[in-house]
Amino acid sequence: MKRYLGIFVFLTVMFGVTSHAVQIEFHQFESKEQEQLYLQLIAELRCVKCQNQNLAESNAELATDMRKKTYEMIKEGKSRSDVVSYMTARYGDFVLYKPPFKTKTLLLWVGPPIFLFLSLFLLVKLIRKQGHEKSEALTESQRESVRVALDTKQPNQEK
């Protein structure tokens, strides 16, 4: 029991600390739409310093600066595409968690569905083929031997 208590305390401390680690600044917005846009953007833009986090989750100094820049641009009345193009001009498409659809990213977007349909196609083909193999009719002598085998087994099964 004591051991479990220790694990419980350890986990509480671990997750209790990490879940409060990110510090978010408080911003005043003129409208609900601007606030929505801000929250949406910081969720969709990647922190380039700590690459597997978005701006909202990251506590890196660069992420703080990028959030600040996003906030300032929205406050100035800039649109969503203004902020996105500002960031991609400096950090490339890499800064977007949702990469744009263009020739360079074609495989990224089209690859998975193609792969899915290809594997579904192959799977269906394989199942069909197996079905045909099974439906081959038995010869009369094979039937006879099956009957004999079933008849001899029957007494054993009755218990």
Binding site: Q51, L62, D65, K69, Y91
Partner: protein, 183 residues
């Protein structure tokens, strides 16, 4: 044995090759969108002469280097000697962009001491206290080094501390090549 039994094996081999290729890529090296583009402008106060400014357009007409650094950055210290050698050897004008360091609450004038101790190889040091010029240049982490040609086009970006082999194999040949180009 039928050939079709080799299909999963070949597929597995292809997957391993793909993953190995992925391992050899460094995700921290983000390709800079500035290569081949005009250098982003900034106009910032000089470190030793706060009344004067230094801007990107001041440097036009020459092949020059922009080095982002800070006194709090440990690998900048490691890079400093290597970079100083490049600057001395090639006599290449170099602007040091002091990123979120000089004049900030946390670091005050640490940068002055840093340069006094290690030497100041820069033609000019631009002070970017707020780090906004840094963002304009797409900073991910200092140090970062850019090479800009005579026309003011960014030609190369080196992410991380410059090491001796990079100076000899990449930067010096590049500077020679760019100097030979028409201005």
């Amino acid at each position: 044995m039928s050939k079709k039994y080799f299909v999963p094996l070949i597929g597995f081999g292809a997957l391993v090759a793909l993953l190995l290729f992925g391992l050899s890529n460094d995700p921290k090296l983000i390709p800079s969108p500035f290569i081949g583009q005009p250098a982003p402008e900034f106009k910032l106060p000089k470190m030793y002469k706060p009344n004067e400014t230094i801007s990107v357009s001041d440097m036009k007409g020459e092949v020059w280097v922009l080095n982002l650094w800070a006194s709090w950055c440990v690998s900048c210290r490691a890079e400093h000697k290597v970079l100083s050698r490049l600057i001395a050897e090639k006599k290449v004008p170099t602007v040091g962009l002091n990123y979120k360091d000089y004049g900030t609450e946390d670091y005050g004038d640490d940068a002055l001491q840093w340069l006094a101790t290690l030497g100041n190889p820069y033609t000019a040091v631009a002070v970017d206290t707020k780090g906004m010029a840094g963002i304009d240049w797409g900073v991910v982490g200092v140090p970062e080094t850019f090479v800009i040609d005579k026309k003011g086009i960014v030609r190369y970006k080196f992410t991380g501390p410059v090491y001796p082999d990079a100076v000899d194999d990449i930067l010096i040949p590049l500077i020679d090549k760019l100097r030979a180009e028409a201005g």
